[in-house]
C-alpha cells in the first residue's frame, strides 16, 4: 500500500499540544510519522502526497452521543446514510444510543449492530447499552457481558434512571468493570407531559412546561449517589446554568463527574420554537437566552468538556404533528463542527480547544483509540477549512431524515477530507467507499 503524506497542514492535536504547520505520514492504517515545519515531498510510486495548503488537519471527530435508529427505526436513519453524513462532517467515530427497537440491552443486539456496522458503515460505530433492561429503570443490564461484547458506555438514552436505589446499584456495580454511566438528567415527574421550558413562552403557546430545575434536581441526586459509591458518571446534554454550577462544585470536590452538551444548547433558544415549530422541539427543551449564555460559559470554564452532535433523526410523520406529541430531537452531524466553530470564534478559544471538545476529550472519556495524531495511532483524520463560510440549512443534510432546525444560519467550517483507518472515505465533496 502506498504511503499517504499530508504535507503543509495546520496540525491541531491536543494530545501532543501541536498547533502549527507540519506533515503527517500514514501507512498501513496507522500514523507512522509526524514532522513540523514546511517540508518538500516528492510524489513517487510509494508515496501519495496531499498538499493541505495550510488547512487544519486534526484527529477525526468523536461523537459521544448520536441516535442511529438501528435496529428498528430504519425509516428514520440507517447506518449507510448515517455514515455518509458523519464522513462528510469529519466525524470518524460514532457512539450510538441504545433506545432502539429492540433496545440495546443484551449482547446479541450489540453484536448485530457491530455486524451491520462492518458491512454498511465507513466510519467507526461504537455502541452503548442501556443501564436498565428495556429502559424501564428497574433492573440492571448485564454490564460485564455487554462491555466485553463491545458496549463502550451505559445509558438509558433520553430517559433518566429515576429510581434512586436502582441508580445507586448501577453506580456501585459499574465500578467492578470500570465502565462509564451516562445520564440524561431530567427528573421524570417534574418533566412529565412537558415539551418546552416552562415560562412566559410556554404559557403563551399553551404548552405544558418543563422547569429548569428538572435538570438540576436529577444532577444533584446523581452527584450524591456518585459520592456515596465513588462512582463515575457523565451527564449528557447539559442545558442549564443550575446544573453546570452543581457539576462544577462536584468536580472541585474531586468527584468523578463530567458532562457534555450539544451545539443546539448554545446556538438556539426557546424563542426559536416560534409558532409550535416541532423541529425546535428537543430533549431537554431549548432554554432561555440566559441559560444559553451559561452553557457557553460552562464550556469556557472547562466544566463541559465534550460537545456531542446529539444527532436525532426523525421522519416527517414524527415531526408533522401537534407540538406536544411530536418527537423531540434534531439532526446533528452536519452542524457539529460549524456551530462549535462559531463558539470557538466568538469566545476566541483556539483550535486546540475545538479539537479537545469534539475529538480528544470524548475519546479519552470512553477510552477509545481515537482523538490523537500520535505516532502509532489509527489514521482517523479530518482536514478542514475553519474560515470557510457556510449557510446551515436543510439542503446540507445527508441523513435519511431532514429534521434540522437551522435555516440559513451563518457558520464556518468546511470539511475537505475524512480518513478512517488510513482510507480516504470523503474528499472534496465526494464519497470514496
Amino acid at each position: 500500500m502506498k504511503k499517504i503524506i499530508f504535507s503543509n497542514a495546520h496540525i491541531v492535536d491536543p494530545t501532543q499540544k501541536i498547533n502549527k504547520l507540519g506533515n503527517i505520514t500514514v501507512e498501513n492504517k496507522k500514523i507512522t510519522s509526524i514532522s513540523l515545519g514546511k517540508l518538500n515531498f516528492q510524489n513517487s510510486k510509494d508515496n501519495q502526497i496531499i498538499d493541505c495548503k495550510n488547512l487544519i488537519l486534526a484527529p477525526g471527530f468523536v461523537d459521544l452521543k448520536c441516535h442511529l435508529r438501528v435496529p428498528g427505526d430504519e425509516h428514520k436513519e440507517n447506518l449507510s446514510y448515517a455514515s455518509e453524513a458523519a464522513a462528510s462532517s469529519g466525524i470518524t467515530s460514532l457512539v450510538c444510543m441504545p433506545n432502539t427497537n429492540p433496545i440495546i440491552d443484551n449482547v446479541s443486539i450489540v453484536e448485530l449492530l457491530q455486524r451491520k456496522a462492518r458491512k454498511e458503515s465507513h466510519v467507526k460505530i461504537f455502541s452503548t447499552a442501556s443501564i436498565t433492561k428495556r429502559l424501564e429503570g428497574k433492573e440492571l443490564s448485564e454490564f460485564g457481558l455487554l462491555s466485553e461484547a463491545g458496549a463502550v458506555a451505559f445509558t438509558d438514552a433520553i430517559t433518566a434512571v429515576n429510581n434512586a436505589s436502582v441508580m445507586y446499584k448501577a453506580l456501585k456495580y459499574a465500578s467492578a468493570f470500570d465502565i462509564l454511566l451516562m445520564q440524561h438528567p431530567e427528573e421524570k415527574e417534574l418533566s412529565a407531559g412537558g415539551s418546552m421550558t416552562s415560562g412566559k413562552l410556554s404559557t403563551q403557546l399553551g404548552i405544558k412546561g418543563i422547569p429548569l430545575e428538572a435538570e438540576v434536581i436529577q444532577v444533584e441526586r446523581d452527584l450524591r449517589l456518585a459520592e456515596m459509591t465513588n462512582g463515575k458518571i457523565h451527564f449528557l446534554n447539559i442545558s442549564t446554568g443550575l446544573a453546570i454550577d452543581a457539576i462544577q462544585n462536584a468536580q472541585k470536590k474531586g468527584l468523578k463527574v463530567s458532562c457534555s452538551t450539544s451545539p443546539h444548547y448554545f446556538s438556539l433558544d426557546e424563542t426559536d420554537i416560534k409558532k409550535w415549530r416541532t423541529f425546535a422541539k428537543l430533549s431537554p427543551p431549548l432554554r432561555d437566552k440566559k441559560n444559553l449564555a451559561y452553557v457557553k460559559r460552562g464550556i469556557l470554564n472547562n466544566v463541559i468538556t465534550c460537545i456531542t452532535s446529539d444527532h436525532s433523526p426523525h421522519d416527517t410523520d414524527s415531526k408533522r404533528l401537534p407540538f406536544e406529541i411530536a418527537s423531540p430531537g434534531s439532526i446533528g452531524f452536519e452542524s457539529l463542527l460549524p456551530l462549535t466553530l462559531n463558539l470557538i470564534k466568538e469566545k476566541k478559544l483556539g483550535f486546540l480547544k475545538l479539537i479537545e471538545l469534539i475529538s480528544t476529550n470524548p475519546a479519552k472519556l470512553l477510552n477509545l483509540k481515537a482523538g490523537s495524531l500520535k505516532k502509532g495511532s489509527s489514521a482517523d483524520i479530518v482536514l478542514f477549512d475553519p474560515h470557510k463560510k457556510i449557510n446551515l440549512s436543510s439542503e446540507l443534510i445527508k441523513s435519511k431524515s431532514k429534521n434540522f432546525p437551522y435555516e440559513n444560519k451563518k457558520a464556518f467550517g468546511k470539511i475537505y477530507l475524512t480518513m478512517v483507518d488510513g482510507k480516504i472515505i470523503f474528499r472534496d465533496g465526494k464519497f470514496n467507499f
Partner: protein, 302 residues
C-alpha cells in the same frame, strides 16, 4: 381583516376587533342584519371538532346557517387523534373538497395554526389545547361592552383554572389590547408560569382579588383536577376559590359575573350567583356568541 384566518387574538388589531364587534351588534338587530351580510349563500363551512363540544359547535353551526352558508359538522373520534396520526391527512382530505372555512377545535395547542399552513381555505380557531379560544374572548368583550359601554380602565378579574384555560389566555390578550386592568385569581397550582409578565395582577386570595372589580370571569375547572392533583378537593376549591354571594360582595356593587360554560354549580360558582339575573351574564354570553361568530365568518368569507 388583514389575516385570512382567525387563529389568535394576538393577530388582530384594535381596529379589526372593533369592526368585528360592530358587525356583531348589527347582526343582533334584524333590520341592520341584511345590510352587512355579504354574499354567503352557497359557501361551505366545515366544523372540524376533534374535541367534544356542544355549545361552541352549535353556536358556529347556527352562525353559519343564519348567514345562509351550508354547514357540515365533523366530529372526529377522539381515540384516533390521540396519536395525532391522521390529523393532517384529515385536514388535507377536507381541503380537497374546497370548503370556504374550516372551523377547528382540538385538544392540543397550535393545531389550528398547523392546519392553516396546509389548507387553502380560512381557518377559525374554535379552541386549541391551553392556547386560545379567540371567538370566546370576542363574545366576552362584546357582552361587557353592552353593559359597561367601555373596556378601557375596567377592573376585570379572571378566576379559577388559569393554567389550563385557553379562554383565560385569549381574554388576557384581548382585554390588554383594549386597556382593561386585568387580575387573575387562582390557586397557586393552577397559575401558569410567567403569567405575571403578561400584564396582569396575580392574586392567590379571592377576597383581595375581587376587591373593587367591575367584571368577574369565572373559568370552568375540570373535576379530575380537584382530586388531589392540583387542588385537594372540590369542597376546598369551592370554599377558597369558588364564587358565592359573600365573595361577590367584595366586588363593586354593580359588578357583573361571566362564565364561558358549561358551569359546575357548587364548584367554581354558586347557583345563586349563576342564576342571579341582575348579576349573571352567562346566558347573554351564549346569545352574543352566535352574533360574534356570524361577524367573524362574514368577514373571513369575503
Amino acid at each position: 381583516m388583514k389575516t385570512k384566518h382567525l387563529l389568535s387574538i394576538k393577530d388582530l388589531s384594535v381596529k379589526e376587533i372593533e369592526s368585528i364587534l360592530n358587525d356583531a351588534n348589527k347582526f343582533l338587530n334584524k333590520k341592520k342584519k341584511n345590510k352587512i351580510s355579504k354574499n354567503i349563500k352557497g359557501k361551505n363551512i366545515i366544523n372540524l371538532f376533534f374535541e367534544d363540544s356542544t355549545r361552541t359547535l352549535t353556536s358556529f353551526e347556527l352562525a353559519g346557517k343564519q348567514l345562509g352558508a351550508s354547514v357540515i359538522n365533523m366530529a372526529v373520534a377522539t381515540s384516533s387523534i390521540k396519536k395525532g396520526e391522521s390529523l393532517i391527512d384529515t385536514a388535507m382530505t377536507l381541503n380537497a373538497m374546497s370548503p370556504d372555512i374550516l372551523i377547528v377545535r382540538h385538544n392540543m395547542s397550535g393545531v389550528p395554526y398547523l392546519l392553516s399552513e396546509k389548507v387553502n381555505c380560512s381557518v377559525i380557531n374554535a379552541g386549541d389545547g391551553s392556547n386560545e379560544h379567540p371567538t370566546q374572548a370576542l363574545l366576552d368583550v362584546l357582552t361587557i361592552l353592552r353593559h359597561k359601554k367601555r373596556i378601557s380602565g375596567l377592573e376585570v378579574a379572571i378566576m379559577g383554572d388559569v393554567l389550563h384555560s385557553r379562554v383565560a389566555r385569549s381574554n388576557i390578550y384581548l382585554l390588554n389590547k383594549l386597556k382593561a386592568k386585568i387580575r387573575v385569581i387562582s390557586p397557586p397550582t393552577l397559575l401558569p408560569s410567567g403569567i405575571e409578565d403578561m400584564n396582569v395582577k396575580v392574586y392567590k386570595n379571592i377576597n383581595q382579588g375581587l376587591d373593587g372589580v367591575d367584571i368577574i370571569m369565572v373559568l370552568r375547572i375540570q373535576k379530575e383536577r380537584m382530586k388531589g392533583s392540583f387542588v385537594p378537593s372540590e369542597k376546598e376549591f369551592f370554599k377558597f376559590w369558588g364564587l358565592d354571594g359573600e365573595k361577590l360582595n367584595k366586588a363593586k356593587k354593580n359588578a357583573l359575573v361571566m362564565h364561558p360554560g358549561p358551569i359546575n354549580r357548587g364548584i367554581e360558582i354558586d347557583s345563586d350567583v349563576a342564576d342571579d339575573i341582575g348579576r349573571s351574564l352567562i346566558l347573554e354570553q351564549v346569545k352574543l356568541g352566535v352574533a360574534v361568530r356570524m361577524s367573524v365568518i362574514n368577514k373571513l368569507i369575503n
